[in-house]
Subunit: 160 residues, 6 copies
């Protein structure tokens, strides 16, 4: 039985993230979507908000479980019995950093594999950062995030 984990900050989740999660869920027996507590940098949304936003979008996929985690991903993967780390790949600069992380994770946990899924073409240009930046400048992101995320972003940004 293959248990996979797809981790990220998801601040907030985008249609690109959801695309990877749903496709990965089709490949493995179980997929944990793991939201990083991410103490190192400021997030726009709290951990609870980030978990909730992604959970309500993926509640319809039976073998996906949305969880939060703290510390090293490889430690968390071991704890939940995962043997695979799933990552989405968009561009060449992604690839460099992702390869570095995959090799580092392999060094720390030889029993864990990292598999990369290529991002669908229509989401190649989306990242949470660019979404937040464009939204803060009143740009139209309605095709790039789920409607509930759109509303949450508008509400959050109006409070700043």
């Amino acid at each position: 039985m293959t248990i996979a984990v797809y981790a990220g900050t998801f601040d907030p989740v985008t249609n690109g993230h959801l695309d990877i999660a749903v496709r990965a869920a089709g490949l493995f027996d179980k997929l944990y979507v793991a939201v990083a507590q991410e103490t190192g940098k400021n997030t726009l949304f709290s951990l609870e908000e980030r978990v909730q936003l992604i959970r309500q979008e993926l509640s319809g996929v039976a073998n996906i479980e949305v969880v939060s985690f703290d510390g090293l991903l490889v430690d968390f993967a071991h704890k939940i019995g995962a043997n695979t780390i799933v990552r989405g790949l968009r561009a060449v600069s992604d690839f460099d950093i992702e390869l570095q992380m995959a090799l580092m994770n392999k060094e720390m946990a030889a029993d864990l594999e990292t598999v990369f899924l290529p991002t669908s073409p229509q989401y190649l240009f989306i990242s949470s950062s660019i979404i937040k930046n464009v939204a803060s400048l009143q740009g139209d992101i309605s095709r790039l995030v789920p409607e509930r995320v759109l509303l949450a972003l508008e509400k959050k940004l109006s409070q700043i």
Copy 2:
């Protein structure tokens, strides 16, 4: 009639920026050089200083107009009637980010094209960041920025 906009922070303008602007002005009927107010990060020069430094260098090119803007570039482009965004390309890591921005802008404004001009070989290594870094360490940048920018940098850095 093709109206193009070449936007950036220009903190400060370099010979590489001027090279792109002058070459782009030769391709389009009108070129707006648009200096971003850039509220998100600290700049060494104020918006007014950045506009003035680039304006005096480009005053001899008839179809160039130097302006400042705030908010989304695609919104500004629409306001001034531009149908083209001009970008300079230096390196592969530029290319990734630039392609992401171009696709995002296309998503927000399907009527706007982004065109890339390759940087001239002698300016491939110049960026405003590296210029400021080297200048702050008393390195010789006299062949990389116009003389007025050199003087402005010296004056500004002596005040820090």
Copy 3:
């Protein structure tokens, strides 16, 4: 007046080529689509076939003229009075080769600019080579080339 030239082997033209051509035609006063005689390597379609296939797809765009050429592109550009070379950009390995060609062309003809247009996301994976390869293996390419090209490919490949 800006006259641009978009050159290639077009063996055969794909929807990706047509996308670049139509978008470029919107930026310049006149766009020559220049089909290379390409004596160096074997083509599946003859020069006449390649010109005809692309011409019939672009006949509806008033400021596009489809022509063939031989020899150096910069010499041809001078002959037709073009001051701009248009190139489509798909990927990083494209970028390297394209930058090399653009700098070489600039070396040979300092008055000619090369501008790059990013390929639309849905065509990022298309090239004439991959189209021919997939078609020869009976793969479905109907969304990737115009219908007349599809028919021409089927006919041509059945003759081999």
Copy 4:
């Protein structure tokens, strides 16, 4: 149940290929290692030899089956009931071509996912081409291919 296919020319199989195959077999219920008949270019080893060389190395992995195939990989994947294509990733130029192939395969068969496994660091520089080239010049490749492949290469190259 996830059935994956790892396809290639394997002319001949290297330790890098075997590393990917064994790791992929740990992720999926069944892994087909599919040797391409590859009519388009000359191979050093015949299809039968390539199949045999890889089969004897992987015979100890219960859920791996080595097969040969002809035509489009997506058609073969459908025939054997696979829902995943496995690819190894070594370098950036790999990534460009691999992403192009993955998107093309997705276009032809939306139900098939491509997943990439990063090559282990010690095999980053190995390819069948470089192995053949070095072997033909009497270089030492004993740590890069299985012993049976080493012997097969020596025998084959002595016959040329």
Copy 5:
């Protein structure tokens, strides 16, 4: 006589840095390992600590001298009579930035060459940043840094 300088922040030194230093020392008559005072960003270890950590690891290499420096590397290179700057190369995004720095240094000091050594495969994924990040999350980095650095990291991180 060729005198080379290998500069960095070394916060802290890793096995990857040591690998480059030792290999470079074999190529040149004298190698200065130059620890940057690096006033621009916060370091985990003080300049003195960084110098000491790297010095004790390289004390056994006769033609290496560990020093600290401030200001432009090219000025420091001139001061110590170096004619070569040594850099390690790991990945493509390294390459872009490194090439930019090498060309900028050449612009400032035409008499200085930059030479790049490829990182050994087993260290491709190591950087001081990732080491600090993993160590702060209690990950195992014992194969990636010398033992004294491991102890220094544990001590330092327990004090935060």
Copy 6:
């Protein structure tokens, strides 16, 4: 004493090659410029012609010796007592292939280092292939190759 070898096909030598050779000669006690017999692909110039063309350009550099070689570069390096392989780097796709070759050579000969010198900006776009291609189409390459190479190319191409 550091003996380095700079190998290539040099079909024909370009100003970019000469730039690397002269700069490398300044870094090492002795530099062999090694012209590959290159049995695998067709060259425009014979081995003797390639050696002669490069030798006459570099005869003024005291510590350079131009030689030809056959077989593996690492074997040749051992034979002449070289401990360093010099390579020029132009672009990212170069980097991938060069890194692969450097790691392969390290695998075959652990005592040999590969060092990369970045190409000077004005030669970033030059390769022997593009030089031959442009020359065959009567393009102006007079600033890209030495005069004797220009004449040799004209003579050779007029005979085809």
